[in-house]
């Protein structure tokens, strides 16, 4: 591969450059930087068009571009896989990104924080481009997570409390998906030993691992579990019920953000399934679930859309429905069609969102009038035209037959495999209803008054649908040119025949009933139903309306859950019993390995004791906690490096610990992760919160050590990153403390507006501490988890992942409390000085540095020993 073939990497890099340009201080370049930003986007678009052009060449293998070429041991590799799917997605994203960037130039004029907005926008585009072109699952996941983070910051108006709450919910919901995704990755790595996509597909096709969650439980194929977990990730990004709750809350953002969100970010789910098509294609049970989730979301989303009374929520729920349809298409095996759909929908939705202020214009042109309920009122004088049965019936029959003919002709003529699959029938159904509705509408608006007009419109309709079908078919074969591939996916997605027949029967029934009602209504009559049926139907209708307008009562449930959980955590925090119980549990765990402890050589015992005290492990975390919370001044920042002592002690253990002791330590680590997380959730004082964050972070480290039998080679990076992150947070908090005193978290607010530089630093540090890329903690954690010899979804792994998830929860909440909301008027604000910025920047650079330099080949030590294996086996049940 020559150097020149690396030019596609320019595509994600150009918007990144734009982001950096817009982040430059105003005085330096003035308004020029925005223009340059546009240029960068246009460049990205141009290059991606070129890439698409190249990718279209038939028979050309998709290249893998390696940015770094580390040894194979490292699962994260910067590999870019530019195939047709990636090229298409890049053109779409770069195009839409460019247009939205341009639109925002005027739309966001003079807004405070405009530079931040444009930076984030360009960054999002860059991350999206990186995501669609990545050839490594972990790299894809990295971008996936950055999106969660960026999205919650694009909410923009942080002075407004509901916006901040919405951002929080967005982040939390997306993190749910992230955690499941990560679990899937850990499993996949455990099963197949690689995360490079092409290699992964190849190995997955070869191995037929089975997998069960508990002993004697139902056996599932490895790929099924992996795809299921990853699908949860897709569900959260693509707003599938019930993980859709964040989408309506995100509507507090400025309008162009919605355009980007609804045309770009939210499609990630559909893209992901396409990217992993070989995996999904090999897991029919996952596909059935995907279909069910998609169908539910499509119907519920559209249902909720109907009851909305404002334009943005209408569009938001409409997107949920559309995403449901896209996912449903995936579930039917029509992977390529999902991509076709997401592009069409993206263009459609972005345009409508950007134009949504025009509703008032329309309302001025054509104000609606209420439906009269009493017949005595004078009728509208413009609805007086006629109605003819003959023409109507013709329309009715055409409606029924037309789509059938079109579809059959289209598929028959092109001899596509669709005829053998059920998927086609379901699309047929959707098309059929759509065209029926179209014709019904034409009659309703009396376009028949002019037959010519009606004929014209029908012809247009036919042409459009026909073009669409042809285009969709062509697109399918463009994306999946390999012979038999498309058919294979369709076959995989085929439902059991009884279920399928049932679905067809039920839906047909509903459609025909609906048609009859509509027909009767347009004839000015109502169908008289027997008995109490009409009354029941009416009541059902009301119930359904209330169900939909209350958004399935899910928001309520989420709020109630939130309130209960907060109350519970605070109560736990107040209760002295909690600590006592946790300590008792810990001691019980220790008690079992008392023998082992006593048998330790004294030197080892001392070192171990030293380690658990300085590198906090429940219940020996008191010193660490006190060092971080009780010591005045900047000293705690230095004390945050205390675990380094423990780490050194641990690495210098002359001989490994016995396995049963590691087992006990593993238990302690899990207890300490749970304890620390719960405590951190309840804290209002920043230093205590940071201290408990540290406890959790090191608990994860202990768990890794325990499950890998004391192998420290994969955890060095994590350990140093954890220390740096906590220390950095303490340092940042110190800057606040010297300004306003040691106030509680909720007594400060709005620092984002009043101390922007501090806000930037703190949010980056929080990002690092919450274990998000591109900081060392994330890479360290991944490195650690993947090397903890997990081949199953053990309880330990679940706890660890949840603790990792929890960190983003309370760290993000702290961030929100400090930065967001309206600023207090009675505080004297002054932003960070040079020295303060410099020290924080050093921490941040070190954190990022850890992620880059840490990629060097990690020494495969002899730690993969018998001891660690046993520890694993002991833990698993």
């Amino acid at each position: 591969m020559t150097e020149s073939e690396y030019y596609p990497l320019l595509i994600p890099l150009a918007p990144l450059a734009a982001a950096l340009l817009t982040a430059l201080p105003r005085g330096l370049v003035g308004e020029m930087n925005y223009r340059l930003g546009v240029l960068c986007h246009v460049a990205a678009l141009a290059v991606s068009v070129q890439v698409l052009h190249v990718a279209t060449e038939p028979g050309r293998p998709a290249p893998d571009l390696h940015l770094f070429n580390p040894p194979l041991s490292d699962p994260l590799r910067f590999v870019f896989h530019i195939d047709r799917l990636a090229a298409v997605m890049m053109v779409v994203i770069a195009g839409i990104g460019t247009l939205i960037y341009l639109y925002s130039l005027r739309y966001m004029r003079q807004e405070s924080g405009r530079a931040r907005y444009h930076t984030l926008l360009a960054l999002t585009v860059s991350v999206l481009l990186c995501m669609v072109s990545s050839g490594n699952l972990l790299l894809l996941f990295l971008c996936w997570q950055l999106l969660s983070w960026l999205l919650s910051f694009l909410a923009y108006n942080h002075v407004h409390p509901p916006t901040a709450r919405g951002a929080f919910r967005t982040f939390a919901m997306l993190r749910v998906g992230d955690v499941a995704f990560l679990a899937g990755i850990v499993l996949a790595y455990g099963l197949y030993g690689t995360l490079d996509l092409q290699e992964l597909f190849a190995r997955a096709a070869r191995t037929q691992d089975t997998f069960s969650f508990w002993q004697g439980g139902p056996e599932l194929r490895g790929s099924t579990v992996v795809t299921l977990l990853i699908f949860v990730g897709a569900m959260s990004k693509s707003a599938q019920v019930p993980l859709h709750l964040w989408l309506p809350d995100s509507l507090y953002a400025p309008t162009p953000v919605h355009a980007l969100l609804h045309a770009g970010i939210i499609n990630a789910g559909g893209f992901l399934i396409n990217r992993l098509a070989p995996l999904y294609g090999a897991s029919p049970s996952t596909l059935h679930l995907v279909f069910a989730v998609g169908l539910c979301t499509a119907l519920l989303g559209a249902g909720m859309m109907l009851t909305q009374n404002d334009i943005k929520k209408t569009l938001g729920y409409s997107t949920i429905g559309q995403m449901g349809y896209m996912i449903m298409e995936c579930g039917l095996g029509a992977f390529a069609l999902a991509v076709f759909h997401l592009i069409a929908h993206g263009l459609f939705k972005a345009t409508i969102f950007l134009n949504c202020g025009n509703v008032i214009h329309l309302a001025r042109q054509e104000p609606r009038r209420p439906e009269r309920h009493d017949a005595s009122a004078p009728p509208d004088d413009n609805e007086g035209a006629g109605f003819s049965t003959v023409t109507w019936l013709t329309g009715f029959v055409t409606t029924l037959i037309l789509p059938l003919i079109i579809l059959l002709a289209a598929h028959g003529a092109l001899s596509l495999p669709m005829r053998d699959s059920q998927g086609a029938v379901i699309f047929l159904f959707f098309s059929w209803v759509t065209s029926s509705q179209a014709i019904l509408t034409l009659y309703r608006v009396r376009a028949i008054a002019s037959r010519k007009v009606a004929a014209l419109m029908l012809a247009t309709l036919v042409a459009v649908v026909l073009t669409y079908l042809l285009a969709a078919e062509a697109f399918t074969y463009f994306l999946y040119p390999a012979p038999g591939e498309v058919g294979f996916y369709f076959q995989a997605a085929a439902l059991p025949s009884w279920l399928f027949d049932g679905i067809v029967a039920v839906t047909s029934f509903f459609v025909i009933v609906g048609w009859m009602t509509l027909y009767a209504k347009s004839r000015g009559r109502t169908i008289s139903l027997p008995g109490r049926l009409p009354e029941r139907m009416g009541r059902l209708r009301i119930r359904l309306y209330l169900f939909l307008i209350n958004r399935l009562y899910l928001d309520t449930a989420a709020l109630a859950l939130d309130r209960t959980a907060t109350g519970f955590v605070r109560r736990l925090d107040q209760s002295r019993l909690f600590t006592a119980l946790a300590a008792a549990a810990a001691l019980t765990a220790l008690f079992g390995s008392l023998d082992a402890v006593l048998r330790l050589p004294p030197e080892t015992a001392w070192l171990l004791a030293f380690a658990v005290v300085t590198m906090p492990l429940f219940p020996f975390h008191g010193l660490y906690l006190a060092a971080l919370t009780r010591v005045p001044g900047t000293l705690p920042v230095a004390l945050a490096m205390l675990p380094a002592v423990g780490w050194t002690a641990l690495s210098s253990l002359p001989a490994g610990l016995p396995p049963e002791l590691w087992r006990a330590v593993g238990m302690l680590a899990l207890i300490s992760a749970v304890y620390g997380s719960l405590k951190a959730l309840a804290q209002f004082r920043v230093r205590r919160l940071i201290a408990y964050t540290g406890l959790v972070l090191f608990a994860l480290l202990w768990w890794h050590l325990a499950s890998s039998g004391g192998d420290t080679s994969h955890a060095t990076r994590y350990a140093s990153a954890a220390m740096l992150a906590t220390g950095g947070l303490l340092l940042a908090w110190h800057a606040v403390q010297v300004r306003f005193g040691n106030l509680d978290m909720d007594r400060i607010g709005g620092l984002a507006r009043t101390m922007p530089r501090f806000a930037l630093m703190l949010s980056l540090l929080a990002m690092a501490a919450a274990g998000l890329p591109p900081f060392g903690l994330f890479f360290g954690f991944i490195d650690m988890t993947l090397n903890s010899h997990v081949t199953a979804l053990t309880a330990g792994l679940v706890v660890v992942l949840l603790a990792w998830f929890g960190a983003s929860f309370y760290v993000f909440r702290m961030l929100q409390r400090l930065l967001f909301g309206p600023p207090r008027t009675d505080l004297l604000y002054n932003d960070l000085g040079r020295a303060e910025i410099a020290s924080l920047v050093i921490v941040l650079v070190a954190l990022i540095g850890l992620s880059i330099w840490g990629i060097e080949p990690s020494v495969q030590t002899a730690a993969l020993t018998h001891g660690s294996r046993t520890a694993m086996e002991l833990e698993s049940p």
């Binding site: 309302a363 009038r369 209420p370 009301i542 306003f740």
Partner: protein, 1084 residues
């Protein structure tokens, strides 16, 4: 307040059975309570209004203060903005001195070695805002202060005179304040929120927004709320009784089903259950209304619109709204009190509990206000989660008092020391000398500062801010009027006539346009409220609804329609077919989108076409607009139209209707029996028509048709039902048609009033242009705010066309001549519309202009084009991102681009900047550049000896001007509460207004982008300055006659200056002392 110890039951026994007196009483109080909420018109016709309209009977400052309590909005700019104005020279120092002079006392104190006056200290406070930072951050501030030792030293020096608050005293006082304030200064829900951290108000708001959105929706939702014909309360009662309570009220279905049917009974029940005393009802209900003032304001508007269709069918009013809202509150408060305090949620029970457990409430209050340190808050929580014990609270409170007392005292001293040092620095006093000053002296100075807190600075700054502008404007006018002394009587016909005369709207945007028009040629311009005294309901061509073309404070009884003029039949049919096609296309798209199943395939197949507008509108804005307009023209060609000014006689209407019905019958016959040989003769059609309308047929023999009798009967029934040829419909149509147009007398009256009002009674030019105005902007929910406020937020085109048509009627002119207004034969009235966004003027009904005026017309058109370019140039300079003078062509392109750009949040500045209203002759202002900030109403006092015309102007256009001014004022000083915040979050709801984000109150004011230029205000918020050129006595008389005007002038909502036309002296109007010569500051 003495509270009964027994807890009142949450539902009184006599529930739902209230006496009529009580209901009437409630309704009466509700009227008072509702005053605070400003009426909100739907955004289709954005009406600039005063957000404090209901408080206009109070003086301005008082009203602002009251609104701050209830609505939480600021009534003045932030002090730092005023300070910036001072630095920039916009406020001059002596103006500020004058403004706070009334507050100064003749007192002195000595700081260090230097004597300082009261005025000096106040000025320092105004200029530098000497307020100490908050208590909880003060320590940190002092530690970082460069002079920290001196602050500490001074603090201890102050020890004898500055005592901290005694916490024990505070404890009793605080609980007492809570008890008496309960139900008066805050709602019970707000009380629970603050003391129990219960989050009730947000929950109630969420439910109320949900129901308001659903009920008030005007056709947005595809599946709209069922049962709305039961009214707001009825529909809610019906539906909510079937839903699971989303806000967590247990057993809500049964409780709601058991509510009384009448909303007033339900509200009385709820108020009784909360035990709010009757005396507190108005305040209490006001507070509930101001929780969501936007939605409440819209309901208030609807309840006044008895002839509004949505209101007729789906009635809503504030009583129903409150009945729902207070019910939620009652249930949630009860639940919250039960859970957290173990008592019933009513005022008696809470008051009793507060007396019994004052320590506990004191601690809760301290925490609610954010004073309680974390350690205490934790302890409090522990007490709360544990068993309730009074002793525990007492001990905690005592400990808190013992510990926080000294700390607070120290803080108070530090704060005082900090302030004194700052003051010394500002006044240039050596800080070290402060320590030598007697503490009592320092205390005095601190007292001065305390008596004038920063929250009170606003009124002072505003007065200073206004006086500068007033001086400048009056001096400018004084300079101009020297040159144009008023002749004793209006000049008689002179030999030379103006090239043309033009009447524009009083709108501030007309000022610059008029100035440029007068500069390009020999034009004479007039200002008149943009509805041109024509009160009409207007229906545009092809539209199905009327617009109200008059100020919203008035009513109309005439209606006018736009109809096709041309006889070019092919064009007409193409136009009609095109309209149908477009309509059908829209309906189709709409139906496909609003469905459960169809949107998906529709989007997949049609979505790609959206890339066209997406790319076109963003990248090739101007081209795309032009191309789209052209495409539209191809489908729907433009046809010439005219307006129906004259009334039709009944006979005409009858004949017209009959012809129309016959044509429908003919079509129906052909449609249904097309293949048969039909008798379509007039007689036959007439026979069927009469039969369908059940008109007497007489003994006329039915003409032979080819239909059987049954067929004929069915056909007639069909005619009645589906083709709407029936007596009821015919009658309704007849009624509607006869309301159209003006009688001859009405026309005469209208034209005469309009001409006299502006003093155009002689010297008519050959062309008189009546120029209304409108605007063009894309993707702008506020587009109506840019249109003519005098036409109720519509474009002024129909009014101009109607008045021009009337004034061109020979009959009208003949009658006018009898009344002394002689319009020459060759004077032609021409209607036009100024597009304020693009500065283009469109002229109407040019088909009717005589050939003789061809050359005048062409010259006028050319001049108007030039004026448009010049005006664009002037306006472009004001856009912050341009800022410089562009070339005329560039400016024209720029304005055109702005009007069509979908990403443009500021298509034009609109009425921003408006600050004065001048009623007088053009001679007063001709040639002065008033910067597009002044409403100009032409008025010649010599034409109006009785003062009737002035009265019309002062009570009509002037009030409209004041509303516009106040809307801008309040939207600027508080863009979030009175304005509607930034446009980038706006979300159009129910086709009637905007919210911010997915759920919020209805945003009622102007957008941030409309009044603000980045962080600085573009609109300088000042109260309207009205200058009237008329004898003082005449003005005074009119004021005496109108309470409204008294409120405005005496309450200082408007500042009034009169120019005596004969003395040529300016007089200032004082609320108390009356007229006084205007205090000029020559060369000051």
């Amino acid at each position: 307040m003495t509270a009964p110890v027994t807890t009142a039951p949450s539902t009184p026994p006599e529930r739902g059975r209230h006496t009529d007196t009580r209901r009437m009483h409630l309704r009466g109080l509700l009227l008072i309570a509702g005053e605070i909420v400003a009426t909100y018109w739907p955004m289709r016709t954005f009406v600039h209004h005063n957000p404090l309209h209901g408080l206009e009977d109070l003086p301005f400052d008082t009203a602002v203060r009251r609104a701050r309590q209830l609505l939480g909005g600021e009534g003045y700019l932030p002090n730092r903005v005023y300070r910036d104005y001072l630095l920039a020279g916009r406020i001059r120092p002596w103006e500020l001195d004058q403004a706070f002079a009334p507050l100064t006392q003749d007192k002195r104190a000595t700081l260090g070695a230097r004597p300082v006056t009261h005025a000096e200290v106040l000025r320092a406070h105004l200029l530098h805002g000497i307020t100490a930072p908050s208590e909880d951050s003060l320590d940190a501030v002092v530690v970082r202060h460069h002079d920290r030792d001196r602050i500490r030293e001074l603090a201890s020096h102050l020890a004898p005179v500055v005592a901290g608050p005694d916490v024990r005293d505070q404890m009793t006082a605080a609980v007492e304040a809570e008890r008496t304030g309960l139900g008066r200064t805050q709602t019970m829900a707000a009380w629970c929120d603050r003391l129990l951290a219960a989050d009730l108000t947000a929950r109630i708001d969420r439910e109320m927004i949900k129901w308001c959105e659903a009920f008030l929706d005007e056709g947005h939702a595809a599946w709209s709320m069922p049962g709305r014909e039961r009214g707001f309360f009825g529909a809610w009662r019906w539906l909510a009784a079937q839903e699971r309570s989303p806000c967590g009220i247990a057993d809500s279905r049964r409780k709601i089903a058991a509510l009384p049917e009448r909303p007033d009974d339900a509200l009385l029940d709820s108020l009784d259950a909360l035990a709010v005393p009757e005396a507190a009802w108005p305040d209490y209900l006001s507070r509930h209304l101001t929780a969501l003032p936007g939605w409440a304001g819209f309901i208030k508007w609807r309840s006044d619109q008895t002839d509004y269709e949505w209101q007729q069918i789906y009635p809503a009013d504030l009583l129903q709204y409150l009945a729902v809202r207070v019910w939620y509150e009652r249930e949630l408060v009860h639940k919250s009190c039960r859970k957290s305090l173990g008592i019933d949620g009513n005022l008696h029970a809470i008051a009793a509990d507060m007396s019994a457990q004052s320590h506990r409430y004191f601690l809760l209050r301290e925490r609610g206000n954010g004073h309680l340190p974390a350690a205490y808050a934790t302890a409090l929580d522990r007490l709360r989660y544990g068993r309730v014990s009074t002793d525990g609270y007492r001990q905690l409170a005592d400990r808190y008092a013992a510990e926080s007392g000294p700390r607070r005292e120290q803080t108070a001293r530090l704060a005082s020391a900090w302030r004194l040092l700052t003051l010394a620095r500002v006044l240039g006093i050596d800080p070290s000398s402060l320590i030598q000053t007697a503490p009592e002296e320092l205390r005095t100075v601190l007292g001065w500062l305390d008596a004038f807190p920063e929250t009170e600075h606003g009124p002072v700054w505003l007065r200073a801010f206004e006086s500068g502008y007033r001086q400048a404007l009056i001096q400018q006018l004084a300079g101009a009027q020297q040159a144009a002394p008023l002749p004793a009587s209006t000049p008689d016909a002179t030999t030379s006539r103006h090239q043309a005369q033009a009447a524009f709207c009083i709108d501030v945007r007309s000022e610059s346009f008029r100035r440029h028009l007068e500069a390009v040629g020999d034009y004479d311009t007039y200002g008149i409220a943009g509805f041109f005294t024509v009160f009409i309901r207007f229906r545009g061509l092809g539209l199905h609804h009327d617009t109200d073309q008059f100020p919203v404070i008035m009513k109309a009884k005439n209606s006018v329609r736009e109809v096709i003029r041309t006889y070019h039949s092919q064009l007409i049919s193409r136009h009609e077919a095109g309209s149908t096609l477009l309509h059908a296309g829209h309906a189709l798209l709409h139906d496909l989108k609003e469905n459960v199943v169809t949107p998906y395939v529709a989007v997949e197949s049609l979505g790609w076409f959206y890339s066209l507008p997406f790319i076109g509108k963003t990248v090739f804005t101007a081209w795309y607009q032009a191309w789209a307009a052209q495409l539209r023209r191809v489908f729907v060609p433009k046809v010439a139209t005219t307006v129906t000014v004259d009334k039709l006689t009944r006979v005409d209407v009858n004949e017209m209707l009959a012809a129309e019905q016959r044509s429908i019958i003919r079509q129906a016959l052909q449609e249904q029996f097309g293949d048969r040989h039909l008798n379509l003769s007039l007689d036959r059609l007439e026979f069927l028509r009469k039969k369908a309308l059940e008109e007497p047929l007489g003994n006329q023999q039915p003409p032979k048709g080819s239909l059987t009798l049954e067929e004929e009967t069915t056909f007639v029934i069909d005619l009645r039902r589906t083709y709407r040829i029936n007596p009821a419909d015919a009658f309704a149509r007849m009624e509607r048609i006869t309301r159209i147009g003006f009688t001859h007398a009405e026309q005469l009256f209208t034209v005469e009033t309009a001409l006299r009002l502006i003093g155009l009674t002689k010297n008519f030019a050959r062309l008189v242009l009546l120029c209304g105005h409108g605007s063009t902007s894309d993707n702008n929910p506020f587009e109506a705010a840019l249109d003519c406020g005098a036409c109720g937020g519509n474009s002024g085109r129909p009014n101009a066309r109607v008045l021009a048509a009337m004034a061109n009627r020979p009959l009208v002119r003949a009658e006018l001549a009898k009344k002394g207004i002689v319009i020459p034969q060759d004077t032609y009235f021409l209607a036009g519309q100024h597009d304020t966004t693009t500065d283009q003027v469109e002229l109407f009904d040019l088909e009717e202009i005589p050939h003789t005026h061809q050359k005048d017309l062409i010259r006028l058109i050319r001049d108007l084009e030039e004026v448009g370019r010049r005006n664009s140039r002037e306006r472009c300079r004001r856009f912050p991102e341009i800022g410089v003078a562009l070339s005329r062509a560039k400016a024209a392109r720029q304005t055109l681009r702005r009007s069509g750009d979908w990403s443009e949040v500021r298509p034009e500045w609109g009425l921003s900047g408006n600050s004065a209203f001048i009623i007088g002759r053009r001679e007063l202002t001709r040639g002065s550049d008033l910067n597009g900030r002044v409403f100009l109403h032409s008025y010649d006092c010599r034409e109006d000896q009785t003062g009737r015309l002035l009265e019309i102007i002062m009570t009509g256009p002037q009030v409209v001007g004041q509303w516009i001014n106040m809307e801008h004022y309040f939207s600027t000083v508080d863009t979030e509460v009175y304005g509607s915040g930034s446009k980038i979050y706006h979300n159009v709801v129910g086709r009637l207004g905007v919210m911010s984000g997915p759920q919020s109150d209805l945003r009622t004011g102007l957008a941030w982008q409309t009044v603000m230029d980045g962080v600085r205000p573009y609109h300088e918020p000042m109260r309207l300055l009205v200058v009237i050129e008329a004898p003082r006595e005449r003005i005074s008389q009119i004021i005496r006659r109108h309470r409204l005007l008294q409120h405005l002038y005496h309450g200082e909502w408007v500042r009034l200056v009169a120019l005596d036309p004969y003395e040529r002296m300016f007089y200032d109007y004082h609320p108390v002392t009356g007229w006084a010569p205007f205090p000029f500051e020559y060369g000051a």
